[in-house]
């Protein structure tokens, strides 16, 4: 592929008409013929679940895979805050164009215009669809849908179901799947993990999967393969992702020819519960929607910081004038609602300067006192309580906050053992979402014909930073409304192919290589557990490839990751057998892939000599500490081609064109 030219296949014509005219022109598959076409969907989160349901409904035979015991447990279930859509129900000036604009700007001008515009166009449909499926979104007293706002925007376009939006949307997609499972149109493979892709005649034609209960290695064929396996944030070991989230499906197809795009774009989310000890297994997110009502601050004076850390002073005892509401101070236009990358770096900046408020010095306050009083007064008015006491006001206000964020507050209290209604929450940034992923063209097809990638697994719509509430939107847009069209266009060539046999040499070879790896792990009898290596990798990633990166740090990281990988393949210990349910073996195959991805991730970060979105290079910043982007040299998607060791990966560039939006410095001041 030396002269391989990346072709994004963006349709011609004016931006606003591209998707409509594209749909008018693509080839359709006759319903009778769809019955003779099989599609594999790996992953049943929002992206994979919605895709599987829709493809099955259209008439294709779908085989869907997930490693959990039920599609309903996919990581998407954990999404808290909400989903965006340009409905303008609030009449605050929202439109498809504004959602498009906010997303491109929020992504620091590193996403593909045509994709983002399409996303904005279908966003409204998503809400209609979910409501029709029985998703119980929050409603106001008139019975209409309620909205809130999220970081990085000035309109209220986020639909939500308390702090459990992902759960409700996933259950919606899952219910659509159930309907197709009952009809026999989806064959569901729970507790199955895809461990390799099979390519026959240059096209993706199947996968090798492991039945996680029996350990059996299975061959599954299809006319097309869709990867919807989610993000790879767990490369950091600690992240807000579910414990099993992994890069394996994406990495395996990368090794078979799919380019991996922008691996270094990772979102560090500003409002997570801080780490409290070395034993910790994961970090817990506190939805960003809290920033609508919470004010973020640290003490102004170092004496107060010390007194707090030593337990001599409570945050509630610090007077208003001794608090530094640093986001409101630095970014008056957006205040506490600046985008995630900006909020995260600002918290790091304050903590690095010594103002962190917990024992580790890595926490800032998220304070609801003002909101509780504000809502309390409003409620007192509504209820005609003219002379309500402060106590009464606080009670009323607390109820409002409870109805909006109750489950989040409860979660916080469980973990930290403090009541966030009466004392400010402590928060700190944590790895959350990966904007990078498998490179796809406008059709969501990877560089392997017949292999698609959707949802968080692909790189496509968020650029260098993802605004809140837009991952759910993208996952469902891809699955319900985009892929079903684009894949049909591809499959229209396959109506005469007939079933794909699984006894070909290609299946044989893929199966053997999977078996070899698994056998290696259970026979290695090394000295260190899988977690030992995962934690080591995670520490390097966080320290040197985390919220801030530098040339030196990245160079060191690459060498260190290589060394860990070498040691892993020599000394890892995986107890148990491969023909049995074996969670350690599952972890081992995932960490093996993280150990390769981690290096490519650092290499990508080193290559990009600029700061943009979630990629902050300390060597490229303005005088006042803001990201310094370089549009002349870096307005491209970095798509890496596999050539063996990650260090040998070859960089291909998809130049990004901005015809409808002017490239501007992203300012939230």
């Amino acid at each position: 592929m030396a002269n391989f030219k990346l072709d994004a296949k963006v349709p011609e014509g004016p931006l606003a008409d591209k998707w409509t005219s594209y749909k008018d022109k693509i080839n359709l598959v006759n319903p009778a013929n769809k019955r003779s076409i099989d599609v594999i969907v790996v992953g049943t989160g929002l992206a994979g679940g919605s895709a599987a349901a829709t493809l099955a409904e259209l008439g294709y035979n779908v085989k869907a895979f997930c490693y959990q015991d039920s599609p309903r447990r996919a990581h998407s279930i954990a999404a808290q805050g909400g989903i965006n859509a340009a409905k303008n129900y609030q009449g605050d000036g929202d439109s498809n164009y504004r959602l498009f604009y906010d997303t491109v700007k929020g992504g620091d001008y590193r996403s593909r215009e045509a994709n983002v515009h399409r996303l904005a166009e279908v966003s409204g449909n998503i809400i209609d669809q979910c409501v029709a499926q029985g998703v119980p979104f929050a409603r106001d007293y008139g019975g209409l849908l309620d909205n809130r706002s999220f970081g990085g925007v000035l309109v209220s376009r986020t639909f939500y179901a308390k702090g459990q939006t992902g759960q409700q949307l996933l259950l919606g997609a899952y219910s659509a799947m159930n309907r197709q499972i009952a009809r026999g149109k989806i064959q569901m493979y729970n507790r199955h993990e895809m461990l390799d892709l099979v390519i026959v005649g240059g096209k993706a034609r199947g996968i090798i999967a492991r039945n996680l209960i029996t350990g059996e290695i299975e061959r599954h064929s299809a006319h097309a393969v869709v990867i919807a396996s989610g993000g790879y944030g767990n490369v950091y070991f600690l992240s807000t992702n579910a414990m099993g989230s992994n890069v394996t499906a994406g990495w395996k197809i990368h090794k078979k020819g799919a380019f991996f795009a922008n691996p270094c774009y990772t979102q560090i989310h500003p409002t997570c519960i801080p780490r409290s000890g070395d034993y910790q297994s994961k970090l817990t997110l506190m939805s960003e929607s809290l920033r609508n009502d919470g004010r973020i601050w640290v003490p102004k004076n170092m004496d107060d910081v010390m007194a707090i850390r030593e337990g001599r002073l409570k945050p509630t005892e610090i007077a208003e004038e001794n608090r530094d509401y640093y986001l409101e101070r630095r970014y008056p236009a957006f205040g506490n609602l600046v985008p995630r990358d900006v909020a995260s770096r600002a918290a790091k900046e304050r903590c690095d300067a010594g103002y962190g408020v917990n024992k580790t010095g890595e926490a800032v306050y998220l304070d609801f006192k003002a909101a509780i009083e504000r809502y309390g007064k409003e409620q007192a008015m509504i209820h005609g309580l003219k002379d309500a006491s402060l106590e009464k006001i606080i009670d009323l206000g607390t109820e409002v906050i409870r109805s909006k964020y109750g489950n989040l507050f409860q979660m916080y209290e469980k973990i930290v053992d403090e009541d966030p209604y009466t004392t400010p929450m402590m928060i700190y940034p944590a790895t959350h979402y990966t904007m990078g992923g498998i490179w796809v063209d406008y059709n969501l097809m990877t560089t392997i014909p017949g292999c698609y990638a959707i949802g968080e697994a692909n790189f496509s719509d968020h650029g260098a930073n993802r605004l809140g509430a837009s991952a759910l939107m993208q996952g469902l847009a891809d699955g319900y409304f985009v892929l079903p069209y684009t894949i049909g266009h591809y499959l229209s060539d396959d109506i005469r192919t007939g079933p794909i046999p699984t006894d070909s040499p290609e299946f044989e070879a893929a199966e053997n290589s999977v078996k070899e790896k698994l056998d290696f792990f259970v026979n290695n009898k090394g000295t260190h557990s899988v977690d030992y290596y995962h934690k080591k990798l995670g520490k390097i990633m966080w320290d040197k490839v985390g919220m801030a990166r530098s040339k030196e740090g990245l160079t060191e990281a690459i060498a260190e990751i290589k060394a860990i990988r070498k040691d892993f393949w020599k000394n890892v210990s995986v107890p148990g057998d491969s023909n049995d349910l074996n969670p350690e073996l599952e972890k081992a195959t995932r960490v093996a892939d993280f150990l390769e991805l981690g290096e490519l991730f650092a290499k990508d970060a080193l290559e990009r000599n600029e700061s943009c979105g979630g990629h902050f290079r300390e060597d490229y910043q303005t005088e006042d500490g803001e990201a310094l982007r370089d549009d002349v040299n870096y307005a491209y998607v970095a798509a890496w081609e596999y050539k063996g060791e990650p260090s040998d990966a070859v960089l291909h560039k998809e130049e990004l064109e901005f015809k409808d939006i002017e490239l501007k410095t992203r300012s939230y001041k």
Binding site: A53, T54, E57, Q68, D69, S70, R72, R73, A74, I77, A78, V122, N125, D128, Q129, C130, V131, A132, Q133, G134, P136, R139, Y141, G143, L144, L145, A161, K162, Q164, Q167, Q168, S175, A176, N178, R179, A182, A242, M243, G244, S276, G277, Y279, Q280, S281, K282, T284, L285, K414, I415, Y480, F481, S529, D531, S573, P575, D580, L581, N582, P583, E584
Partner: protein
């Protein structure tokens, strides 16, 4: 904290299984229960033993994977809490803790503490959906206003995480709370009303086929449910079911 753990070990579905004692030391009270289990497993791996298999994923109390029976209670001693959200500060130095899988005929043990809860999925295949195509040609979401109270009640029912604690806590191993939560969510919304009767009938039939026991109104399920799913849902389900049996021809 130093603790003695009495853990159910069972190699596979056929194996008989039994309690094995383990010791863990220096457990911090900030740890979650599952982090304590990680410590134990790390210890076992380092001595070449097979770690204890248990289900878990989100560790945020929302996916419904984690499912331990701790000292005789599903998800342990705290009310309204999943195992992953249970913290070691609830235990004392020197405690002996029994850790077992959820038990019910319809939840066979797969290995150690992992049980097969796919019977829940099959009940949902029988009707836990609204028959609407995903074509995107649905009417505008605000075209049918839904009273806030109804929407809130539907939401409360919809928050069930499908963990199965209700079944595990019930002396009859009944799945009524789970099934009724699903049926209620749809029955409360105008979109789901159309097929409410049919749905109730089909889901209840499948529930019985899966081998869940009958509900005798002991209410243990509601007490142990980590999401506070209310018994009112069972009453609502019974109404739906009754009207289904009255109106549909067998």
């Amino acid at each position: 904290m130093d603790l003695t753990l009495k853990i159910w070990r069972q190699k596979n579905a056929e194996d008989k299984g039994g309690i094995v004692d383990y010791k863990v030391t220096e457990i911090s009270d900030h740890m979650s229960f599952l982090e304590m289990m990680d410590v134990l497993n790390e210890q076992l791996i380092n001595t070449g033993e097979e770690p204890v298999a248990f289900d878990h994923d989100c560790r945020e109390g929302i996916c419904g994977s984690c499912s331990l029976h701790i000292n005789g209670e599903p998800h342990g001693p705290d009310s309204g809490t999943t195992t992953c959200q249970l913290h070691m500060r609830r235990f004392n130095d020197g405690d002996e803790i029994y850790i077992e899988p959820f038990r019910a005929k319809a939840f066979p043990v797969i290995k150690d503490l992992i049980v097969d809860r796919t019977s829940f999925d099959r009940i949902q295949h029988a009707g836990a959906y609204i028959s609407v195509n995903t074509s995107g040609n649905t009417q505008d979401a605000n075209s049918i206003p839904i009273p806030k109270a109804d929407a809130d009640m539907a939401f409360d029912a919809a928050t069930c995480i499908g963990c199965g604690a209700c079944v595990a806590s019930c002396k009859n191993a009944s799945a009524m709370l789970f099934v009724s939560a699903k049926i209620s969510q749809f029955a409360l919304l105008p979109q789901g009303k159309v097929e409410a009767a049919e749905r109730a009938k089909n889901m209840v039939t499948q529930m019985d086929l899966e081998g869940f026991g009958n509900c005798t109104n002991t209410g243990a399920c509601e007490v142990e449910c980590p999401k506070g799913i209310s018994l009112e849902n069972i009453a609502r389900m019974n109404r739906e079911y009754l009207s289904a049996s009255l109106t549909t021809a067998e």
